[in-house]
Symmetry: D2
Subunit: 406 residues, 4 copies
């Protein structure tokens, strides 16, 4: 590939031209981009252009949270029809009911190197001894980053290895790279301490051994949280359920019980209807690492019948997100963060609460849609409005939401 | 919001103008988009613009698969630095070693409605009786879609409910919406059969009860597959490991053992280093539903020492992807599919094999990077090249790959 | 050890005498046993005596199930105080409410050998080809066992290996050993077919590769069932909840919601209060393999508010149990099976339904106990009846049930 | 049932007589028991007799552990043929190789009550505020038990509830009941603090909400440990593998890779061959709560090729066991504990290490048996020694171990 390592528009166009040649593709739509190649040094190599993901706006949703108050519109980058409208319907219901409480419960980014010893005994000694050096490790960390603060280290002995789980706060950054650098330096300090890692005992070292949960969907991260753990809740009176969600509290709770039972049966991480839709759409719109949708798409949705209607909450155990770093500086992504007031100190927590609120709204709307198609009436409505027909293409097929709302 | 339900450029600009007003944001960069609002009817509501995700190209990677042969360049839409270069390094190693075998093992999209009865006995009767009607249900399905083929139905009795797991092939479409419509119609047929659902026994019906795994990361989907199950493998001789991956087969296998042990300990779904990076980057570049990264980011990476070097394989249990439908028709996304030869019949399988090959390549590169920073030499290299310093911003902090490759 | 391989009382006593000598222990209580050493050839090697587990009787519980009708008393071998009384309380409630419906949903014992090939391509070919030989494999199986019937084989391609999941019915035996022998012979047949396993492609073979779930607690077994999948349910009117369970339907449902949310959060397999207590106590009393409590202790407990009280169900996804084979022929164990009518054809299904019914009863009682200790009143009762004191031994400390029932 | 609440031999016989009458069963073998009904007040209600589980002795196994050194014979109560002999074979291999290192990594018993508030905001306030009172809670705990020491409390906010995870050390007791009583009293203290639980905010309280993992197999307990977390390891030279385990290091490692891949694929908790066999057999022999086999049967078995042979380790993440309390005082059970030196202070840790050592030995033997039946030679051996025949009864069918060792 030509122009390797160059971050200029000219280099991009040279690569694009070369790519057209080797793949014999026109690639017309890659010609133009509003992105500035000069500013993508930390984001991508081999830049040839950009894809556009359409952005819609859902809301408003009224927040009464710890880090966000008032009505918020959320940008959603998606190609899944009905997502924006369904989230908006849910947001309307929550807003009419007085809004969503939201709260960041914890924030901690994890990084977990491995130290392998010749035998279990050495691993056991290391695990005990290293705990005495939290202060030294904090000092090492401070030399690398002014943003990362080392909260704790937890040694996990697995046979003759010790996975050392570092937990940090990282300000408003998601912090995966920051904590990697910090942990690397902290480990260098450890590796220099002969009383911790006697030469004849340490066999190998590795910067990450998969107990941090980075880019992985794991039960440990659900239980313990990774990144920002955040929750939202609301109380919906019967009238709102009926008018906006077009179902009843009892039907809604029945539907909730079914999806919870199904999730438990299937070994789902968490229990929800479609949290990942909101996480993906807002992550893509705001420059987050899209790969983190894998680990961050988990939700725990809870619905309870109350005398007046229903109580609903949504807990997102681990959002790996930030408002600085990654793709958050890209022009549109940054503007969309600004639009939600998610720039400046404390804005990562605000963004997390906004996501939790909309994830709550969407799950309420989706479960309502899925149950309000009660078999007796829905069949009639369906038959009247949507006569059976053969589809010509996937994208003409109605979604669940469309079907039962039609 | 103004212009609700209108899919025109004028309507988009009216909404954008309104959004600027209500949020008091300039939103300059949303003004222009190459997307055609008229063509987004199935993709988004409330369109106001688009975000651009930068696209780099990784590869070439030599394939010797069932559905793809020859060298392929893969477009990756990402903002995570080092991803494209690391995937390219892995692809170089695999290609030098003779390429990647790839194979689609199975394809099945699932949709699972719930029928709730008054008691367990009724649920048990229904579960038995409905199995006799597979032919009738196939007929009902054919009336809705010419693409979806009903493979099987599996009743799951949970207390007094029956979750009825429909499994379909869906051609080259991901098929979530197609199978929803088909299943809905099949359920209408069921609901009309009084011998199956006597009025006094059926209490509620719901189009999806979370045993399909749609938009969920679940252990069941890992074990059983959802969407396309695909695998890739390669044999890397020692020389390639040393020259390209800059480690040794023994070190590489040791690193693999550490991350596998860590994954088991942490309850990770699957076991891999960073499969989700490839899934997310190619999904975003090719118009897939980004929310499906949550369920599709799972991988099972296997590495074994051989006399000549290492054997490596990557199994992706469930890619919910398509080459028609969703966002695949968007101009750049479609061109990038074309660039990989992923249009036309059978192209979904081809795309799945390409993703599996690059996921294999990336995990090889990432684990190599993580271990080749062996403590003795890496510290020296690190100290020489990257003096400890305070970071100014998250995006200046080096990644794992950069650190150990520097 | 002396007398190796001899199954006589004299040999037992010689070993016991030797054991006393090498361990310098009196071991007085091992001197006598009612077991007949001659009959333990398939059960244990190196027999030196027996431990006694105390047996209590819970019930009666009224069944209206597919395989069991009428009142049943269940023997429970346990050392956990309050278990028998709590199960009895639950059984009383269910019985007063009209009894428990029970139903065996499916029965299948699994065994899963591994075939490893040189590359993925060979694995893929084998996985396709072997499916054509289900008839041949059934023939091979019939030559080994008159009880095992091969239902299906499911190939799982993992990199270059194929795990071949054999599923059998095994009559009234748990069937782990029977299916091992059958699968072994079936695999010998496969290994002789050169068109299936060309010599240059097959690299290794192993009788079990952990996809059967044998002696493992796995999400796959929860979703798919292993052994007998069985469910029980009941409808409890408000009066029964109040008088017998000493709580209210609303409190009970609230408690249920808390434990379900807790189970989801913690990555519990299934979702229940203490199913394993019933499984272990009845398994131990009836000669089951106690190690199977690990895989069989999973339950999915569901509770719903109804206008008249509560609906409750318990699904046990995989009971690895039998009424012939294993320890079921031991004298007391056999008598206790007889006492429940669990000998003869179809008795394994009957035993499974009895376990499901009592597991339902116990979870109802336990959740009631945990919530009925409502903070206001329970504190007073606790203070009056159980003044704080230092414990002298663990076994004087009250259980949850005792505490809140006192 | 007659004689309710009476713990005497006469009462037992009255109940037995009544049971014979109501069930029309002879129940001859229940007539006699060596157990003393007077001493079972904390263990069982409704005592009618006892079942005998046969006990064999495996070993010797040489330990070089933190809490156990020297050769140990382990009693195993089981009805699964080949278990004792296979464990003994593994123990011989480990002993010949110099013995097993063993180490208790941590000990903590968990209990997790739930506090439910009217809204998330109240839950969040409580979660923060309660952490300030660790000292007060420790004081409350000390008033209840002289054995339990409160290590930490961890609030888990789930919607409007807070699960408060108490972690304790409990001396040599398993401690489930002890920690229940302590937690109950600690919660009473909390419930009296109006600044923590304002009357208008707290809606319900429950002594356990399933985040402790009690009697549950959960991913959280695997990751975090519950009860005693313990590990064992050994280095086996090639000669020992060949002579005792009758396979080769390479074959053994290949087999290990297959079962690890299978475990990951199937969503197994941990990754092992048959840890639950050892846990169940020693738990039953020593008076542990057999129901805890469900949660305690998890193991993580690791095998690595070394230049001289193989390295093997076994980590048991959570053994809920004790050497006082429960059934440990029963005469035979107590003698068997004494035989292993497992009475007195620190003996719970010793027992845990013994279990880990034997679990390591058994998994080594089992995987060796499963792979050493390599298809070429095993078929011949099998054909010669065990001609295919129809089985007469389940218990005549050979086990995996027998098959491949024959």
């Amino acid at each position: 590939m030509p122009a390797r390592g160059l971050y200029t528009e000219a280099a991009r166009l040279r690569r694009l031209s070369w790519l057209r040649s080797v793949t014999r593709s026109a690639l017309d739509s890659l010609q133009h981009t509003r992105l500035d190649a000069d500013k993508l040094t930390g984001n991508i190599e081999g830049l040839v252009g950009a894809v556009e993901i359409p952005v819609g706006v859902a809301g408003p949703l009224l927040f009464r949270g710890t880090n966000v108050q008032g009505e918020v519109y959320a940008p959603m980058a998606t190609t899944e029809g009905a997502l924006v409208s369904s989230a908006t319907r849910g947001a309307l219901a929550v807003t009419m009911a007085g809004g969503a409480d939201t709260h960041v419960v914890s924030q901690a980014m994890t990084r977990a190197p491995v130290f392998a010893f010749s035998r279990l005994a050495g691993a056991g000694r290391f695990a005990s001894a290293v705990l005495q050096h939290l202060g030294d490790l904090r000092t090492a960390v401070r030399q690398v980053s002014g943003h990362a603060v080392l909260l704790s280290i937890e040694p996990v002995v697995l046979g003759r290895t010790v996975h050392l789980r570092f937990r940090y706060t990282t300000g408003d950054a998601a912090g995966q790279n920051m904590t990697t650098a910090c942990t690397w330096h902290a480990c260098q300090w450890i590796l220099e301490q002969s009383h911790l890692v006697a030469d004849d005992e340490l066999e190998s070292f590795m910067i990450e051994g998969n107990t941090s949960g980075d880019k992985k969907a794991s039960a440990q991260a659900v239980a313990e949280g990774r990144g920002i753990r955040v929750a939202a809740d609301c109380l919906l009176p019967t009238g709102v359920v009926e008018r906006v969600l077009r179902t009843t509290p009892d039907e809604l709770v029945t539907g909730y019980q079914h999806i919870t039972a199904g999730a438990v049966h299937s070994g789902v991480l968490g229990s929800h209807a479609n949290t990942a839709n909101i996480v993906a759409a807002i992550f893509a719109a705001t420059g987050q690492d899209i790969a983190c949708v894998h680990e961050s798409g988990v939700g725990q949705f809870i619905l309870e019948r109350t005398p007046e209607g229903v109580y609903a909450s949504m807990t997102l155990p681990g959002l790996a997100l930030g408002t600085v770093g990654g793709g958050t500086h890209l022009p549109t992504q940054h503007e969309l963060l600004e639009m939600m007031g998610c720039t400046g100190q404390g804005s990562a927590a605000r963004l997390a609460e906004i996501i939790a609120g909309f994830a709550l709204a969407l799950d309420l709307s989706t479960v309502s849609a899925a149950v309000s198609g009660h078999f007796a009436s829905a069949h009639e409505r369906l038959g009247r409005n949507r006569p059976p027909r053969r589809d010509d293409a996937e994208d003409q097929v109605p979604t669940v939401t469309e079907l039962v709302e039609s």
